[in-house]
């Protein structure tokens, strides 16, 4: 036997090495982008959350400010802050109002569009989805105008009819006023997700059900809803995360009313700390807390419903 290896295995090995590198090449852009724009900023925020600035004396002139380690002090202060806790409570209530309404409406629209007698489905689908394409700031401005009695056509109509309209920007209704904007913008997206899942159901199941004497309503409740349950759970988790991060709507409405404070939602408090109080360190700590809470809630919920929802896929 010759001692030198034959050319063929060498070539094969080279080819294998090329194959081994291929996944990295494909993953490269995603990993680079993720590192640059997700991991690094998150790491930097975590670092900042452990720092603070100490001022000495009057704090005027050079050298009056020094950045020092703060340990967990920022976290302790954020968790003990009554304004932060109040904002969490407010958003919890807001989520209780918003998320179920959003999912129920989205499911209802999807089922209606998918039902046998539906007409003009393309047009309806687009009209329900369109608000999702409107940025939250714009939609909040538009709704803000509609909420102000002096400039709102709704109030004008109510007045002409002699009816009493509730002041939507008062402390009593403000939660619903904000939830309404989020609902208007969010239902369309969730509806499309559920509707797509409905479209994927093979029609012979319905035929079988009809032969068995099932009505359209029974088909919807007994067949369609259980099959699209995973989509419902996904939209639920998305809506929950969006709720925890509500920001644009209350911030845009704030100048129009006395009832939205600068710390109305947790993210508004982060914004106030970072850009009004110039304290990015405690803002970073609060952001990390919100991120952790979002993570725990989403995955906790998924674990809770996993067995029930994804059974049929196993």
């Amino acid at each position: 036997m010759p001692t030198s290896p034959s050319p063929a295995p060498v070539r094969r090995r080279r080819a294998q090495r090329g194959l081994a590198g291929a996944p990295w090449m494909f993953l490269g852009p995603a990993i680079t982008l993720f590192t640059l724009f997700m991991a690094l900023p998150i790491g930097y925020a975590a670092y900042l959350s452990l720092r603070t600035v100490k001022v000495s004396g009057l704090g005027l002139g050079s050298g009056a400010r020094t950045e020092v380690w703060a340990g967990l002090e920022n976290y302790g202060r954020a968790l003990a802050d009554s304004e932060f806790l109040a904002s969490v409570g407010r958003v919890g209530l807001y989520g209780l109002v918003l998320v179920p309404t959003m999912i129920v409406l989205a499911l209802l629209f999807a089922l209606l569009l998918d039902s046998r007698g539906a007409r003009a489905t393309g047009f309806s689908r687009i009209s329900i989805f369109l608000p999702y394409a409107v940025p939250a700031v714009i939609s909040s401005l538009l709704w803000g105008f509609l909420y102000l009695p002096a400039v709102s056509p709704f109030y004008y109509v109510f007045e002409q009819l002699g009816w009493d309209a509730p002041t939507l920007l008062s402390s009593r209704w403000i939660l619903f006023a904000i939830a309404n904007i989020a609902l208007w913008g969010g239902v369309g997206f969730n509806m499309i997700v559920i509707y797509t899942a409905l479209k994927a159901i093979p029609t012979d199941i319905y035929e079988a059900a009809r032969i068995d004497g099932a009505t359209e309503r029974m088909i919807a409740l007994r067949i369609k809803v259980p099959i699209v349950l995973p989509s419902l759970i996904m939209t639920f988790v998305f809506s929950m995360i969006a709720t925890l991060q509500v920001f644009a709507e209350p911030v845009t409405l704030r100048p129009l009313t006395n009832t939205i404070s600068t710390t109305w939602s947790p993210l508004m408090k982060v914004y106030r700390d970072a850009f009004t109080r110039d304290d990015i360190y405690s803002a970073a700590a609060t952001s990390i807390i919100i991120a952790a809470a979002t993570f725990i809630l989403s995955f906790g919920f998924l674990r809770l419903v996993q067995n029930r929802a994804f059974n049929q896929e196993k």
Partner: protein, 433 residues
Amino acid sequence: MRLTAGTRLAAATTAAALTFGLAACSGDDSSDGPVSLTFWTWAPEMEAVVDIWNEQNPDIQVTVNKQDGGDAAVTKLLTAIKAGSGAPDLMQAEYQAIPTMVSSDALADISDVLADDVAGHFPEGVWNAVTLGSDAVYAVPQDSGPMQFYYRADVFAELGLEVPTTWDEYADVAAQVRAADPSKYLGTFSATDAGWFTGLAQQAGASWWSIDGDSWEVSVDDEPTLRVAEYWGGLVEEGVIDNKPMYTPEWNAALNDGSQIGWLSAVWAPGVLAGNAPDTAGLWEMAPMPQWDADEPATGNWGGSATAVTTQSEHPEEAAEFVTWLNTSPEGVEALADISGIYPADSAGQEALGDSPEFFSNQEDFYEIAAQTASTAGSFTYGPNVNVAYSAYNDQFGKAAEARSKADFVAAVETMQETTRSNLVDSGFSVAD
């Protein structure tokens, strides 16, 4: 390491370029060539004002760099200061932002390079805002916003109302307006405009911060501010004054259709009214603020800014020279007023203003009253955490105004004091007890 001929050539070229570049840089500093200064400002048409200076001073050339507005410019400047480069030589600075910028070491103390007579050009209250009550000078006042009372003269005549000269009279007139026409209000208490309330407190004699030796003192809950809060709380509780914020589409509509017939505002009000209530041109008039003590007329400031030299400027002397020209020379001040359309802080410049703003062409003595009231502005020192106090104002007075409760108005002042003071203490500032 062995270098190929090509690499060596490249290295030599780079080295030569570097040497040349460095020489050019250092040559720039030591030579007698013109000094160039950059100026961050958001005042309209400032380029045209600066052109006048540039023409006369070939040795000191100023370049205007347009900014979006006060808050945005401050954030940008503080970032540049933190980064160690990128800040301009000159910076337009709102009065309430000066302590924040000084605290971040962004503004240079120009007391050494400024002529002694500069201070005499401004009312004491305004000058105090750029010295923070110390011996340092951090900026030279550019424009000011003395407050006055703006009202619909036609509606006043129609309803037979007298222009109020004291706050007691203001309360009476507010009630008369409601009695005569329940769709109208004399004014509104705005919980979203902290600067407006600061002006009202300043008129009453408040100064929320002060420097006592090496410590800050916070006195938001002093008698004058409590008095102002109690007064407005009373009016809102009685329902004779509206409780909705200013600068909303609703408020604009109310000004335009005559359901808001008065506005406690500042000298720049004509511009705002012209934009928000175009249908009411020629129907408004301006009078001095209602007074707490008619024998000692006073007013507050709402808005206004100064021109500062930053700590990154390598030419503070030349910068100070330009700032002095812009804000105290008859020529500079006139250009500011005529071209840029701002109300100058310089007392002589205020008196020189002639024709009323177009929206107030029905009132000939507009600038006469403005100058007269501007000189009565009380002294007010801002602290290094104005934003904290202002956001506390928004939150606390928002709640109080919504509840329409006089007691809540007073409590709001106390919470503001507590929030502002404890924020200073927490940050490590030395704060007097």
